[in-house]
Amino acid sequence: MTRAVAALGRPVLAALAAFGRVAIYAAQTLAALVRPPFYGREFLAALVHIGWLSLPVVGLTAIFTGGALALQIYAGGQRFNAEAVVPQIVAIGMVRELGPVLVGLMIAARVTSSIAAEIATMKVTEQIDALVTLSTNPMKYLTLPRVLAGTLTVPMLVAVGDIIGIMGGFLVATGQLGFNKAAYIQNTLDFLESADVVSSLIKGAVFGFIATLMGCYHGMQSGRGAMGVGRATKSSVAGASIMILAANFLLTSVMFGS
């Protein structure tokens, strides 16, 4: 019995310890924000890498999801003569849930993995040690610019994803399902509230923070060799994805739970 409890408790304690380490790392990152120096060039490079270069993947994900959503809502709605709600449900579904979550997960796949692999390789090849010997704090030079860029650009990507996703639904609904174009747009605009958009952007900021922080954290914690880099990359994407989904549930509960 004791062994069974110990076997159950060990992974729970390990998970809590890991969560604690991430929380401390997050606090150190935020503390670095208020202390000079600030590496502007690295921040701009991170903005381009995380924001601009993620646009194609975000756009493609959103447009196909919006289109599929329109088809599903139409097919489901037909069962009880509610197919007319396609514009409203596509809009609310994309803006409140699918837009932020899908963008967050795509950022975890594209950006978190790339940050983790890059920083882990830097650690394995002693570039992190070299930074320190060159009087440069890796937290300020590598982590802060990426986390700040992620927190600022992912909400914008979510906004773009929301718009493109709604457009995907619009194209399918008007091109394939016979909806009137003007009525579709009017229904979408009438139904969406500013709170929906704000919630979407807040989720985007939180998911951007999580995705970039997990990439940096696991990169910095990487073990030696190619296996260490691979493990850091895998852990960062898995950790970021789970945390994004958990954070999404928490944020939805707080913002729409009542």
Binding site: P37, Y39, M122, T125, E126, Q127, D129, A130, L131, V132, T133, L134, S135, T136
Partner: protein
């Protein structure tokens, strides 16, 4: 002067340093020899604060390095890493001038570039190399760039971690000569870690042998061959038989 006193460091059950005592006089070139995995790199990293010793003290000019103001302390050092540790995303000149482009030693970009090109020339690289990325360079060129970066801000103390590992004998000789020349002309204090005996004879004023987590022997390079210390004799002659186990 760098002074290590009873420095210990363990990683789990692996006791790497078991009480290292070592004095490196100012302006001298100390070479630390020892087999692979004996803790030579850990020793350097302890001095730099990259690894925190479990016990013991390390002082630089009498001041405990653990108490020193980090940025000012590190500004006194330059380091050549074993694999070069060049930043892949930066051009060669930006690597060399890294310290001159940010922080308290910051210079205007054009001036930093000029200094970088001058340092590249000093290590035998053409100015055209400046705009290449590290991945476009051979191993020997990367080592030279690493050396140029280590000396770019004219540090008082320079560490060389396995400077000739992975290089052919001719390139290794070139790097050894460069290190000796640069250390002499800058009047810097140097610590080199290596297991390459050619490097030892080319670079060292004094030699220390690290084995079993302690300094087994230390003395002037001229006394290296004559010392009766069995560890040193086995190591410098590359014998399988002796007090150092061949299988570790």
């Amino acid at each position: 002067m760098i002074e290590l006193s009873h420095v210990t460091k363990s990683f789990g059950s692996n006791h790497v340093l078991r009480g290292v005592d070592l004095v490196v006089p100012k302006g001298q070139s100390m070479v630390v020899i020892g087999g692979s995995g004996t803790g030579k790199s850990v020793l350097l990293k302890c001095i730099l604060g990259l690894v925190r010793p479990d016990s013991g003290t390390i002082t630089l000019d009498g001041q405990d390095v653990a108490q020193a103001e980090r940025e000012a302390f590190l500004a006194r050092f330059g380091m050549l890493f074993q694999g070069g540790a060049l930043f892949d995303s930066l051009r060669v000149w930006e690597n060399v001038a890294f310290r001159l482009l940010r922080g308290p030693l910051r210079r205007p970009k054009t001036e930093a570039r000029e200094i970088a090109i001058e340092k590249l020339r000093r290590v035998g690289l053409k100015p055209e190399t400046a705009d290449l990325f590290p991945a476009e360079l051979s191993g020997g060129m990367q080592k030279r760039v690493g050396l140029a970066r280590a000396i770019a801000a004219a540090p008082e103390i320079i560490f060389f971690d396995e400077p000739t590992t992975g290089l052919d004998p001719i390139m290794a000789g070139v790097i050894n000569d460069l290190i000796r020349e640069i250390v002499t002309e800058m009047g810097a204090t140097a610590i080199t870690i290596t297991h390459d005996m050619t490097s030892v004879r080319a670079i060292a004023d004094r030699v220390a042998m690290l084995h079993g987590g302690v300094i087994q022997w230390t003395g002037p390079v001229a006394e290296l061959d004559a010392t009766p210390d069995p560890y040193v004799q086995q190591f410098i002659h590359g014998r399988a038989e002796g007090p150092i186990a061949a299988v570790r």
